[in-house]
Symmetry: C2
């Protein structure tokens, strides 16, 4: 079965436009730690996948899933200690009052709930998001995505602010001046939502602005925007699907790094190392308001196997010191990127935190003109040379490096050396 | 850890109103086949759970999950044969043109997609559902639920028709007269939706009307309603989350039993024996329309482990002849219920198909006054005596019996004998 055969079968069985990575799609058959292998037995260093958070096929997570699946798998209308032990451990990583949780199957379901929580506690319906974000795939949540416009158009209660960009800050000045410019945009959207009769129920954001290109923003940068939303009666939803669970290295959660306590936190991808688990964490007060007004039940959410998979992932993260590893290896890899930047003019900016980082590629350091086509070529050439990474950001010109949390110095060196060669070999083209 | 301790922990960690079954909630710790055990080691016959479709903890499904989880678990942006082999096997159980699928993590996600497919292919937005149904928990899909009204009210594009009731048919007459009365209601809603400027994009229904109390409707009964919707430019979505995968015994799908071919089919609960898997099956034409207009990606949907779990469930269903078992054991158990009806006046009606059946309990056979409080007492007393079942229907007075598909004659006899005793021992109260 060649990749071409598989592509033909996909088109026939799954329909058109089912996205794949890379010009030459990968047919993966095995994974372990930071490594994956294709059907021809070729090994790749995975610098992209955050879903296998503690490493592909981590034996403790696999064992937890296998053992619980063989013992019992029901739902939360029966009592079970698994979900309670997990939610206790999970909420223990958050500051008070973020003490309660709902377990879902996906981050999309989590954000779909979070929007209703905001409605329930504020009595308002307006929603503000960034204009280069993605929060999931339900009908309601896909309304938040400016990158994938919904075919029927946006609902009247949606409003968007320009995505923060530390490399090209709004208003021209970085730091807290940029923060105030961003807050002014938020205030303008609040005024518009109030004028349209919706009011503002929430500002929903990834506290790391991952899809936006993870701009370098100091702790407290979001404070003026958050204050404006709260003053208008809205709440803050932090979508931690990408920065959460220690990914940023310095903190366990992206919002802790950003220096604020959100009202609602949503979780997804890395939560159970690939097992379909998402979640919503909030205060007892918000949860009570939601649970009183919405009769929410999720058949698979928080079932014993999902809870066991999530618990094992959290335990491995702690037992193997992977947050600290993310901090140390992330710093090491960024130092390496900065070293590459001294030799490769196309690297305009190196940024990120822990094991979610990258380099913004430009055609010219002075004009900062995005090297979008070049970034795509680099990602494809890296794949050809056995290193998996990708690109994102407002201009889709930022290399996205986000490996499993057990990423080692050997891994970092391989990634850096391969990137060095690729940047030397490829012509810088617009 | 007593059940009371667990309830207190639930309230603290999960919030209020997290539903449990039975006045005395069950703390289950183990399951095998049709049997589950509580923390005190007490055994129960499970006559309720359709999620462990081929039996609690079926070793072949557990093995498939464990093996694939230890090998590779990524997502559909890489090529993998697992999803293709499964979708090929799955669509093989449907009539042409239902030849393509999307894999999701839940039935809610599947219905959320189906509503957008209807919009995409019809260009209309109106939705018709029954007034006693449940299709899931996303913001959009919860709009379809009359049993759990959404706090902000129903969207203007939602419309509801009276749930079919074969025991008390609309218009007083059963059979196709009832079918025409139902179709007239559908036509009235179409007219209203057109007047409000929405048009009708779809009629969404469980072809078995499971939550409505699985009324006894002949094949072809839905034809007049379906014709009305199609004439107005709408499509038919069959939610097979409850009747699907051979549950009804006579057919693999509920819509096959009902005698029609839907445009879109949604799948959930039993699909992977408890692993979080749902799906949408439709024609290549509808899929292309959706995939062209919506950029849909689901991180966990159709991942290698989910595909392996679903594939193993489907194979066990076929290898162990469980659809035939559902037909034979369902007939046997219904015969037993009819026998009980000769001795217990509270049994007003016995109905169902395969291993989804029950008895409607009434205070009086002539007036058919629902014995709602009594049905609840019966379910609770059955639980105390080691048999798990529940109740549902328009009047919540119908016993809901829906065991794993490996339900045996020994199981059926135990259920019938226990029910006989409970109906003898409990006073028939309003």
């Amino acid at each position: 079965m060649t990749a071409q055969d598989l592509m033909a079968r996909r088109a026939r069985l799954l329909g058109p436009n089912v996205s794949t990575f890379y010009e030459e799609p990968l047919h993966l058959v095995r994974g372990q730690g930071t490594r994956v292998w294709d059907a021809d037995g070729r090994e790749y260093l995975d610098c992209y996948n955050n879903v296998p958070h503690v490493g592909h096929c981590h034996p403790r997570v696999v064992e937890a899933i296998a053992q619980q699946a063989a013992t019992l798998n029901t739902h939360t209308r029966y009592l079970h200690e698994g979900i309670l032990d997990y939610v206790e451990a999970l909420t223990g990583t958050f500051a008070h009052p973020l003490d309660t949780a709902i377990m879902t199957c996906t981050g999309s379901e989590a954000n779909d709930i979070a929007l209703r929580m905001a409605q329930a506690v504020t009595g308002k319906t307006g929603v503000i998001a960034s204009d280069h974000t993605y929060h999931g795939n339900t009908m309601a949540v896909s309304q938040l995505s400016r990158t994938n416009p919904p075919p029927g158009g946006y609902w009247d209660n949606m409003a968007f602010v320009p995505a923060p960009d530390s490399y090209r800050p709004l208003g021209g000045e970085g730091g807290m001046a940029h923060a105030r410019a961003f807050a002014a945009e938020v205030e303008a959207r609040i005024a518009e939502l109030e004028e349209r009769g919706h009011g503002v129920s929430c500002l929903i954001l990834c506290p790391y602005f991952a899809n936006e290109g993870f701009p370098a923003l100091e702790s407290g940068w979001l404070d003026p925007a958050i204050a404006a939303v709260r003053k208008a009666g809205g709440i803050i939803i932090a979508d931690e699907v990408q920065p959460g669970f220690g990914r940023v290295g310095t903190h366990f959660w992206g919002h802790q790094k950003a220096g604020f306590v959100p009202d609602v936190v949503t979780l997804g991808k890395p939560m159970a190392n690939g097992h379909p688990v998402g979640g919503v964490v909030t205060s007892a007060a918000v949860m009570a308001e939601f649970r009183t007004r919405f009769r929410y039940f999720n058949t698979f959410g928080g079932n014993p196997v999902s809870a066991a998979a999530a618990q094992a992932t959290l335990q491995v993260l702690q037992d193997e010191g992977l947050v600290e590893n993310a901090r140390v290896m992330g710093d090491y890899a960024r130092d390496g990127l900065r070293d590459l930047a001294t030799r490769h003019d196309c690297i305009g900016d190196v940024r990120g935190s822990g094991l979610f980082f990258g380099a913004e590629l430009v055609l010219d350091q002075d004009t900062k003109q995005p090297a979008t086509a070049f970034a795509k070529r680099v990602a494809n050439e890296m794949r050809q040379r056995g290193v998996l990474l990708n690109f994102l950001g407002i201009h889709y010109n930022t290399l996205k490096i986000r490996p499993p949390m057990c990423f080692s110095q050997v891994d970092a060196d391989q990634m850096l050396e391969t990137l060095d060669q690729v940047l030397s070999d490829l012509p810088l083209v617009a």
